[in-house]
């Protein structure tokens, strides 16, 4: 039997303590640790709220959110338009929040279904409630006007982008089989309507109505597969135009 195993665990532990190998951590270490976890959880919650609401804002502003009302082709457009990187970011933030929350008994005592439900609720509040309060338009204007780092590239990137097949705009004139619209960048565009064009919310449209058109755009204009009215103000429009070159 070697020297080490001859000694009792008590002796070995006290030796480490007396020898200074084991030192009691100060109280502030634990206070700081708790504070960091709380701050981390708050930051992650805010990040989830912000990114989830931003995804919804982008989808509504680009018109993609309304595309499924035109049927199966519209569902494909919506799926192609979802900023999946941001969705993944929300999922990652959610997982990190779950990990942080599990340090507290209120979270680890409950089944994952409930705590994950809490994170999902945050995503839903961020995705559906915040856009209705109208936080993003004013936030976007502030970000663009004050050149806020990290956030400005977000608005620029996703404000410029948009699925090629879906076109939001405002009607400026109506003729037989043709709508004249101003797209979200203020450009005049002609929309050609055919007998096969779908009007899921009805055909009665007038000047000033804000609409979303599903269809291919070429040099002449847009051949409408479907047209619907939306209750959306195009925030990615005039203000963004001041800051970025128009889309081709």
């Amino acid at each position: 039997m070697d020297e080490k195993s001859k000694k009792s665990i008590r002796e070995r532990v006290l030796e480490e303590i007396e020898g200074g190998k084991a030192v009691m951590r100060p109280r502030w270490h634990f206070v700081l640790k708790t504070a960091l976890v709380v701050v981390g959880a708050v930051v992650l919650s805010l990040a989830i709220l912000y990114v989830a609401s931003f995804v919804m804002f982008v989808l509504r502003q680009t018109g993609a959110w309304f595309a499924p009302s035109f049927g199966f082709p519209g569902v494909g457009v919506l799926l192609r338009s979802v900023p999946w990187v941001l969705v993944l970011a929300v999922a990652l933030f959610g997982m990190l929040l779950e990990i942080l929350a599990k340090k507290y008994s209120c979270a680890y005592r409950t089944p994952l279904l409930y705590s994950a439900g809490g994170v999902l609720l945050l995503v839903l509040v961020g995705g559906f409630l915040i856009p209705y309060i109208g936080v993003h338009p004013s936030l976007m204007h502030f970000v663009m006007d004050h050149d806020v780092p990290i956030m400005r590239p977000l608005y620029e990137e996703y404000g410029r982008k948009g699925p090629g097949e879906i076109h939001p705009g405002t009607i400026t004139g109506i003729r037989e089989g043709i709508f004249e619209i101003e797209d979200r960048f203020g450009e005049p565009v002609t929309v050609f309507v055919a007998s096969s064009t779908r009007f899921p919310l009805g055909e009665i449209l007038k000047e000033g109505d804000r609409i979303v058109i599903l269809g291919e755009r070429n040099e002449e204009g847009i051949r409408a597969f479907g047209v619907r009215e939306v209750d959306e103000i195009w925030e990615f429009g005039p203000r963004m135009r001041m800051h970025m070159p128009p889309v081709k």
Binding site: I9, S105, P111
Partner: protein, 184 residues
């Protein structure tokens, strides 16, 4: 023999009485070694890991809230230490995700107590625990050998109380099945 509670002793250690920590080590030494063996560590490994548990407990003792019980707190440190020890030792990955943690389950504390006496259960566990998965072995061990209630086990393992109930029940069923196979 010191008649103070663990929590009172912790208070003394926090005040700077290093020797007093030895009392806690004496009180929990046997328990920690027994708990370590349930993780299938040999004698030397168990002693080294138990020593690490006490060293870590001492280092983090200012983070312990005396309003709570000391026992689940030190078992939590031991659980982490032993799981890490197992990860280093074993080539098999220790599973951290368990479907039992997802859904709520009704708590059925002691529902099989009627047909299995506690001492009989200990004997069966002792003879067969190596054949059980760690996720069943650990709560069964804490319940039958460390005499913890489901709520305390939940604190140690940081899982819902209902999941502790499910794991203990399944562990018992598995043991029962093993017994039937051995005798049948």
């Amino acid at each position: 023999m010191d008649t103070r509670t663990d929590e009172e002793i912790v208070e003394g250690v926090k005040q700077g009485d290093k020797e007093l920590f030895g009392v806690l080590v004496e009180r929990y030494e046997g328990k920690m070694l027994r708990y370590a063996r349930r993780f299938l560590f040999d004698e030397d490994e168990s002693r080294d890991l138990a020593q690490n548990v006490f060293v870590k407990a001492y280092m983090n003792i200012r983070g312990f809230d005396e309003k709570k019980r000391f026992s689940p707190w030190i078992y939590r440190i031991a659980h982490n230490e032993f799981v890490n020890g197992l990860k280093k030792k074993s080539r098999d990955p220790v599973r951290f995700f368990d479907p039992d943690l997802i859904f709520p389950h009704p708590v059925a504390e002691g529902s099989l107590e009627e047909d299995m006496d506690r001492n009989v259960m200990r004997g069966i566990l002792d003879r067969n625990f190596k054949a059980l998965e760690l996720k069943y072995r650990e709560p069964l061990s804490l319940h039958y050998f460390e005499e913890m209630e489901y709520r305390q086990i939940a604190e140690v393992l940081r899982i819902p109380v209902s999941t502790v109930g499910v794991r203990i029940l399944r562990g018992k069923k598995l043991l029962k099945k093993m017994l039937e196979q051995n005798h049948g």
